[in-house]
């Protein structure tokens, strides 16, 4: 009886050790993953900061003004001025599209035989 107890205890210790070993490795893996995610986040954040800075740099008023002047013939942009304000009723309705897309392959559709809902 006593030897059985010894064997059982020994096996329980082995099992606990095995479990602890596994948990340890799982924790290590999770930590490594968390760290790599964290470094991804910080990389993404750094990239975002650079992109934001670049966006701000490319959209700086001086550069936009120069671009507008260079591309005046194509874009025809002018500074915003008071006489450009309008009223809603000054806007014309859009013209009706002249002719609808031509139907080239008509398909006959019939509801005959369809079941009532």
């Amino acid at each position: 009886m006593r030897s059985l107890l010894y064997v059982l205890t020994f096996m329980a210790v082995i099992a606990a050790a095995f479990w602890a070993y596994h948990e340890n490795y799982k924790t290590q893996a999770a930590l490594a993953k968390a760290q790599s995610v964290r470094s991804d986040i910080s990389d993404a954040r750094a990239r975002l900061a650079v992109l934001k800075a670049e966006w701000a740099y490319l959209n700086r008023p001086d550069r936009l003004r120069d671009l507008v002047e260079v591309n005046y013939e194509r874009l025809g942009l002018l500074p915003f001025e008071p006489d450009q304000f309008g009223r809603v009723d000054q806007i014309a309705y859009p013209e009706e599209p002249e002719d609808d897309l031509p139907i080239t392959y008509p398909v006959e559709i019939s509801s005959a035989g369809a079941q009532e809902p």
């Binding site: 800075a53 915003f80 009223r87």
Partner: protein, 595 residues
């Protein structure tokens, strides 16, 4: 275990036969046994002590090794922490009122050298100078071959420069990561932003500290990790600021002015929408302060905040408003402005020695009569005038959120005599900054309340205590409007926006005392728009402008500052979302038809 018997039969019998005492044998054996037991116990105890000693030795060795490794290794962040919102160590961004970036950080690299690790110091010095022409080759060579173990070569590198240095292939040239402050808009709002530089520097990082402007004022807040990178929101509007600076630069060039400044402020909240001072500088490459000459000649000088000038006739409306507030006069009260007028032995004259004769209070402002406001000031008296100007904020520096604001302390007369009272009523003898003037004019525009100019975005009106009744404010505003429609600021009319304002032309005082220059003036136009529903105050100041289109040079504000301000309003008001009140063309001739 076989125990030796204490009384072995063989020996006992033998002893009895010899007639000896057999008890001696027992005692002898007992003694031997006890000695054996003692030896065993001793050796066991020794063994245990040894085991204990080894255990303690191992334990302390482990502790010692761990301590040593902790002390010698690089600090690492704990891996098993639950980090929600992570701490962002970099300096917070500065953005304008619409979230557009005014200042941000960029990761870059610094270059340092370990001369003892260098393979070919001579060649690396030559190659470095090829990449960075501003470095001194001889000095580098001396440093690289001398006794120094460490030296900084450059604090900031662009990625291209880093690659070029990398390509030299010198193991003694090393890179350290750096956070660099970047102002993507260049010189825009440079006087507000100020600039930043490095504080304490290490190989792996360096502190970024603000050196001027709002960067220095909010240095601790911007560096606080608890902000979690939340940007600092300013009241400035990037677009409006750009347009204001552009128009101001154009005006300054056209009118041959030495400098110029403008302040645009929301009259309800005190938010400064745009504040410009020319000439300006690039905060990415902040110039050094002047070591000689006048501080005002440096581009670092913020004319709108630090520049205290006598702002001339723009002050007249304060005298008129106070006289109205005290009930001494009404806008229609007629006052004789004809000369001569002598106060404390000094003759008070008019511009170009004119004589306007009897004028109503409203016309005194419209025609800008010195003697008229002087008489108003005399009836108010120096004490009450002082008290009113003090409440308007002309005695203290404006607590604007930039470090330079402390330099804009108004210059007051040492003794406030009747003469000072008269001269101050038309803007001479009291020097203040354009920002003070903006804060003063805002009181007329918001119905008589004090507002404090601020550079931070506000959530709603920040009206302070009442300075004058609403009626006085409205009457003053009407006078200001009249100055534009029929007075000295006729160029200030902007189609669609009713502008009210007052011109001011002040002679510049000579720097070392001794009176005023004849041909150097400060021209100011202080305006409020739109006067039917006042929202903004705009102050434009030009330093030494001259208008040369006529037969003789003109130096009055009506010819210089006013057209600049009008153009600024024309360009800025639509950007601020103010709809012009223009009579739209009636399309009577058009009839809807259908075909």
């Amino acid at each position: 275990m076989i125990r030796t018997p204490l009384r072995p039969l063989a020996r006992i019998l033998d002893a009895r036969r010899k007639g000896e005492n057999p008890d001696a044998i027992e005692r002898e054996n007992l003694r031997i046994r006890q000695e054996q037991m003692r030896d065993t116990a001793r050796s066991r105890a020794e063994g245990r002590l040894l085991v204990m000693a080894i255990m303690f030795f191992c334990a302390f060795t482990v502790v010692g090794l761990r301590m040593g490794s902790l002390a010698a290794s690089e600090p690492a962040e704990p891996r098993a922490q639950v980090s929600g919102a992570s701490i962002i160590a970099s300096r917070a961004d500065i953005v304008d009122r619409k979230g557009r970036i005014l200042a941000t950080n960029m990761e870059t690299f610094s270059l340092y050298a370990h001369p003892q690790q260098m393979v070919d110091p001579q060649r690396s010095a030559t190659e470095l100078v090829k990449i960075f022409p501003e470095l001194d080759e001889d000095r580098l060579r001396k440093d690289f071959t001398g006794k120094r173990k460490f030296l900084w070569v450059r604090k900031k590198l662009s990625p291209e420069q880093k690659q070029l240095v990398h390509d030299i292939g010198e193991p003694g040239l090393l890179f350290g990561p750096r956070e660099m402050r970047l102002y993507p808009n260049g010189a825009l709002a440079s006087h507000v932003l100020g600039g930043a530089s490095f504080g304490r520097e290490g190989v792996h990082s360096a502190e970024v500290i603000g050196t001027a402007g709002i960067e220095k004022f909010f240095d601790a807040e911007l560096r606080d990790p608890a902000r979690e990178g939340a940007p600092l929101e300013l009241s400035l509007d990037l677009t409006v600021q750009a347009v204001a600076e552009r128009v101001l630069l154009g005006g300054m060039k056209l009118l041959n002015a030495k400098g110029a400044s403008s302040v645009l402020m929301d009259v309800q909240t005190g938010e400064v929408i745009s504040i410009a001072s020319l000439p300006d500088f690039d905060p990415n490459d902040r110039p050094r302060p002047l070591t000689q000459g006048e501080a005002a000649d440096s581009p670092l000088f913020n004319r709108a905040v630090q520049g205290v000038y006598e702002l001339g006739s723009t002050f007249k409306v304060f005298a008129a408003a106070q006289a109205l507030e005290l009930g001494l006069v009404s806008p229609e009260t007629v006052i004789d402005t004809s000369g001569p007028m002598r106060v404390a032995g000094f003759n008070i004259g008019e511009f170009n020695n004119k004589n306007y004769g009897p004028l109503s209070v409203s016309d005194i402002i419209v025609k800008s009569s010195n003697r008229g406001t002087g008489r108003l000031a005399l009836s108010i008296g120096p004490e009450r005038q002082q008290e009113f100007l003090k409440r308007l904020g002309f005695f203290e520096t404006i607590p604007l959120e930039i470090v330079e604001a402390g330099g804009g302390k108004p210059l007051l007369p040492k003794k406030w005599t009747e003469l000072s009272s008269v001269t101050i009523s038309y803007g001479h003898g009291l020097s203040s900054s354009p920002l003070h003037l903006a804060a003063g004019y805002a009181a007329f525009a918001n119905g008589g309340h004090k507002v404090v100019p601020t550079l931070l975005k506000q959530s709603g009106p920040q009206l302070g205590p009442r300075l004058m009744s609403e009626q006085t404010a409205t009457q003053s505003l009407d006078m200001l409007r009249k100055v534009v429609t029929e007075g000295t600021a006729s160029f200030g009319e902007v189609a669609g926006y009713s502008v009210g304002g007052k011109t001011g032309t002040a002679d510049k005082p000579k720097p070392r005392g001794g009176g005023y220059y004849d041909d150097k003036v400060i021209n100011t136009f202080a305006s409020v728009f739109p006067t039917n529903d006042p929202k903004y105050v705009l102050i434009v100041t030009l330093d030494e402008p001259v208008e040369t289109s006529g037969s003789e040079p003109r130096r009055t504000a009506g010819w210089t500052a006013v057209p600049v301000a009008a153009e600024m309003i024309r360009r800025i008001a639509p950007l601020l979302g103010l709809r012009p009140e223009v009579e739209t063309r009636h399309l009577d001739g058009m009839i809807n038809t259908s075909n």
